[in-house]
Every structure is written in structure tokens, then in C-alpha cells.
Symmetry: C2
């Protein structure tokens, strides 16, 4: 697929490591006042003044986290940034900088890396983060991307996983499960393509869920919105591994339990119809499908009126005592223990 798109191929070793870094990073701008020195020295220099710094890192491996058969490199670059800044938003902080390290095998021409960095540059603009460093090297096999995201926040606004209290409401942004079903559609089309490469897929019925998989966005709006509504969540996490897995994290770290209501789960109509087509239970998908990059948080019951009716938020449950456990309350009103069956990179 890469070859088709890049009739011109420039070998990476022609440029050398320093030439390559210079070439790929030339479009990066410095916009954050906290960035004193970006790329070009042994280390970047940052000044957070009276703010706290938050930092998070993720490693993305070809064949484990993404498949270049259906993931365009530009989208991959964009998504690599999104998954990292999402962790910063999950602290109720503002992302400010990222470092980007990339390892590629020799099969990648320069033009492929340029596409990847185009996506990284686009996401850096969209989320207003400075690219302040990184590393470019060769790999034995495939493409490896390591991104570290840095952000800032006032101490009072930082939101951890361990602050949820019994009786708090469990709230989620956006809708759930679409990224996972988007992946199922793309996997199916890949198999069709392998059988008949002339087959042109008609993906019109799947645009939303495929976009959720290929070009997810982090919820940068929520921090501003919560601030405007004068809500400080008692705990917060982003949904990368799947709703059930994230709920269990909040409960375990806060020392409480949770009742999650099946009927409250926010599902996009396209997700529901694709689940029917694939004969998969949409609740299972919403609970265990990962990569939604929505925010999951708890708020005090007293704040309910502030979010009531707001289309950005859905109350999907409430927190209970630890001894009451973590349960899904089904539409039929049966109570079943919630298990983390989320995506596990180590099973691959």
C-alpha cells in the first residue's frame, strides 16, 4: 500500500540520522510559552512556573497496535498524538509539549515517514502542543512510535483516579464502542481485499465508526466545559482499553464499587446497526471495545443539575460501597459482575 502511494522513493540512509531529523522536524513550531528550548540540544527545556507538570508516555508497535494495511500513515501519526494527549486531558490538565521517537525498518522510504510526520504535525497544531524532541532510528521489523506527552495544570484542578466516592455519579463523554466496530469493518475489508484485490469496498454505511478508529479525537473541549460549569470531577480516566477496564481502575483506586446501567450506555445509531450486521451484542462492544478516547469521570450528586441535559455528557451509573462490588445492571434488571475483558496488548 505504501509503495502504491509513493512512486518517488528516497532511501533513509541517504539523509543520515541528523539530516533526517532536521528534515522531518522542520515544520514544527514553538507556540507554548512554557517551551524555552525545543529540538536541537541534548534535552528540551521547559518552564512551568507555578503550574504542575504532568507527563505520560505510550509505545505503538506495528502489528500489535496498528495495521498499515488499512491505517494510512498520516492518520497513524495523528492518532499517535491523540492517544497521548488524551492521557493529559484525563488528568484535567492542558497538553503543552510532546516528544516523538520513531523507529522504522529499511522498507520505509522517506516519503512514508513524511506522511507520518504530516499527521503528527497536524495533530500538534490541533491540540496546540510543541514537538520538543525525539529520536529517529532503524528497527529490525516494522514501525515503532514512542510518544511522551507533557501538560500543565494548577494543582487544584488536577483530577486523579482515586478520588471517587460512594454515591458519586459516573459520567461518560460522547459515545462508546464505535472505534472497536470500525476496526471490525476494516479487518473484514482487508480479508475481502486479500481474496479479491479488485474489489472496491463501499464503506458509506460505516463512515462514522471507521473515522472513530482511524482518526479519533481527544476530548480537549471537556476541560473548558467542566470549568465553565464549575464542576471538578472527583476522579477521571480516559477510555483507551475499554469502559469496563477503566471503571474497574477508578473503583480499585478509589476503594469503592459501582453500578453501571446497560440502558444508559450512549451508542451511536451507526454502531447499533453495524453490531446487528455483525451479529455482535452492542452492550458487549460498548463495555469492552477500546480506543474510544472519551473521558470517564465521577462527580458529586450535587453537581447533577449542572450537567443534566448536556449533550456532551451521559450519566451511566453511580458509585457504591466497595463491599457492594462492581456490577452491570442489565435492561432486564439483572445484576452481573463487571469484568475487564478490554483489549490487552500482551495477548497479541
Amino acid at each position: 500500500m505504501i509503495e502504491d502511494k509513493n512512486p518517488q522513493r528516497t532511501s533513509l540512509s541517504d539523509l543520515g540520522e541528523f539530516g533526517l531529523i532536521k528534515h522531518l522536524t522542520k515544520n514544527f513550531e514553538i507556540n507554548q510559552s512554557s517551551t524555552l528550548k525545543g529540538i536541537g540540544d541534548d534535552a528540551a527545556v521547559l518552564d512551568f512556573k507555578d503550574k504542575k507538570a504532568v507527563i505520560s508516555t505510550d509505545l505503538l508497535i506495528e502489528g500489535v497496535h496498528f495495521d498499515l494495511a488499512y491505517m494510512p500513515l498520516k492518520h497513524l501519526g495523528y492518532k499517535s498524538v491523540v492517544v497521548n494527549v488524551s492521557d493529559i486531558y484525563a488528568m484535567n490538565a492542558k497538553p503543552t509539549q510532546i516528544t516523538v521517537s520513531v523507529a522504522v525498518s529499511n522498507r520505509f522510504p522517506l516519503e512514508a515517514l513524511e506522511e507520518l510526520f504530516d499527521g503528527i504535525t497536524l495533530a500538534a497544531k490541533e491540540y496546540n502542543v510543541d514537538v520538543i524532541g525525539g529520536d529517529t532510528t532503524s528497527s529490525q521489523k516494522g514501525l515503532i512510535i514512542s510518544i511522551t506527552a507533557i501538560g500543565e495544570a494548577d494543582e487544584a484542578e488536577l483530577t486523579y483516579r482515586n478520588g471517587a466516592k460512594s454515591n458519586d455519579l459516573l459520567v461518560v463523554t460522547g459515545d462508546l464502542g464505535a472505534a472497536y466496530m470500525g476496526l471490525q469493518v476494516l479487518e473484514r475489508e482487508k480479508q475481502v481485499f486479500q481474496v479479491n484485490p479488485n474489489n472496491q469496498p463501499d464503506l458509506d454505511a460505516y463512515t462514522y465508526i471507521i473515522e472513530r478508529q482511524l482518526k479519533p479525537e481527544a476530548r480537549k473541549d471537556i476541560r473548558t466545559l467542566l470549568h465553565a460549569l464549575e464542576i471538578k470531577p472527583t476522579s477521571m480516566i480516559d477510555i483507551s482499553d475499554g469502559l469496563s477496564s477503566e471503571i474497574i481502575h477508578l473503583c480499585k483506586q478509589s476503594g469503592i464499587g459501582c453500578n453501571l446501567y446497560e440502558e444508559k450506555l450512549p451508542l451511536d445509531p451507526q454502531l447499533i446497526s453495524v453490531c446487528e450486521e455483525f451479529n455482535i451484542d452492542s452492550t458487549t462492544v460498548a463495555i469492552n471495545g477500546g480506543e474510544d478516547y472519551e473521558l470517564l469521570f465521577t462527580i458529586s450528586m450535587n453537581d447533577f443539575d449542572k450537567i443534566k441535559g448536556n449533550p456532551n455528557f451521559t450519566v451511566i451509573g453511580h458509585m457504591v460501597e466497595e463491599s457492594d462490588g462492581i456490577h452491570l445492571i442489565t435492561r432486564a434488571n439483572t445484576k452481573i459482575p463487571l469484568k475487564a475483558r478490554g483489549w490487552n496488548a500482551l495477548d497479541n
Copy 2:
């Protein structure tokens, strides 16, 4: 080699990703006052108060940056931290935290990862850095390590690559080229082993240079020493790619030239004798061999008396006007242009 050392093998997927992270990170202590929150949330939280934060990142790939045939995993873990904190020292800053991401193929048992993390833990203690985050995942092939190092410094003490002035003295710590020749010895022993696995290598004559390759140390003492001597370097860099490559970085970024004197290059006696044995020119090794992790810096001529006779420092050259170029002055007093032939990860 891994198999021989680990009769007990525990599969990584038995533990799951979160179980694995918990298991591997249980020995990490928080010692830095700037670490408000370490591992266990979406992001770590740091507070640098009135200090500036510095940040640097490196990606280490099996088969490109290391060979497990002769690199024990514990040493690899240690060295991975060293190469990163070395970048922080090269800013004249103090390393305070690191994040560690690791991807492994399924051939690695838990016991192998434990050895790797033992080395990381040891280095974290030695350099007094808190391990505040990371990621553990599977790879398609081999071991991949991504480390981000964070440090702090007062703005006035930060030392960049671009501050060198004409007439400044060029100073290096320790000695040069030993890590490179240590690698050559290990490569030779690997080939001997492949021909005759019963051959027991006698490495007594190579202990110093092998240790420089397998267990390098970053120069954490230099910052304190320079402070005590009341010297602020005008520019500084660490030697990872090779002396010539680093000199060229300092010159290009400072807009000046340099005369480097062959006769001044600090060489360990063991290095000289091994170079003779291998029939390699020791000057070439000292100039182009990488991974010394010594510090290279420039100081004002006025500071010469402060370092004169100090065994930690060797004056190896002086800076000249940009138009005079960057040259090696040989023992025979000929002047040859210095070229960066340092190790290039993209040639692999």
C-alpha cells in the same frame, strides 16, 4: 543465553498487562520532592517550582542498538537509563525522573523482563531518579526500550550547545574510545562462540573496555565538580555518537570552528594495547567510536587555571573562527578536516 540463565519461565500473558506493570514496578521508590504522583494514573504529576525542567528521550532497539548475545539484560536495563540521564547531565542539569516503556516478543519470559527491570532499578538508585511511568506491551520482534529522562536546573546553570566562543578551550572528561573497542572484543568473542560453543573466552585483558561497553556510567560527578570550581561551561554535549560528531554539533550550533589536537586525546592504556592487537588506529577509535558517555564542553580561557592538572578533565583543543573550519591537528602537525564518521543508527 536467556534460556540458560532462566530455568523457570513464566509466560507474560499469564500476568496480563496491568499485572505485569504492577509486578515489574513494585520496587520503584519515589525519592524526588518534585514527584507529586508516580506510576498508577493517566499521567505522572511533577512540580519543579522555580526550576526549569529538561527532558530528553531515546529509543533502544534490539539488533540495532544492542545484541543480547553478549549484553546481559540487567546491564542493558542499567545502560538504557545511563544513556538517557547522560543527556540531562549534558545540559548541566540534575536528572530527577524517568519513564520506561518496554515492548517484548513472546519469546521473553517474565524472568527476563525482571532482570531488565533489576538493571533499571539499580540505575534509578545510582542516579537518584524516580521511575514515574511507562508502558509495557508486546512487539512483533525483539526487545524495544523507550526511556524519557526528566531533570531540573536553575535557568542560570543550564548549558546549551550553542554558547561556545572563539578562543574557548575544548575540554573532555574521562577517556575516549574504550566503549567502541569493548564492542569489537565482544563481537569477536561472539564469532568464536558461534564456531566453537565450548570455547571459554579469557577476557581478563579487556575488563576495562568491556565494562565501558556493557556498564557505562554517566558523569553525574561533573556538575558538582564544575559548580565547586565555579566554572560554567559556555557549551556542553555528551559523547554518544563519537567525539568528532559532537564537536561538529557544538561548532555548527555555536557558529565557530575548532582545532582538535591528536596528541591531547585521553586514551586508556588498555585501549591502546587492544587497538594494537586489532591493528586499528587508536586516534580513529577515540574520534569516531561512540558510547563513551563522557561530557564534552567548552570553557573560557580565563577558567583554564581552575581545571589545570585536574585528572577529571583534559583540554583537547580550542575553538577558532567559523571561517577557520573544524580540524584535527595530527602529531605530525598536519591539519586535516574533521568529519563526522560516528555511529549512525540508520545505516544498520
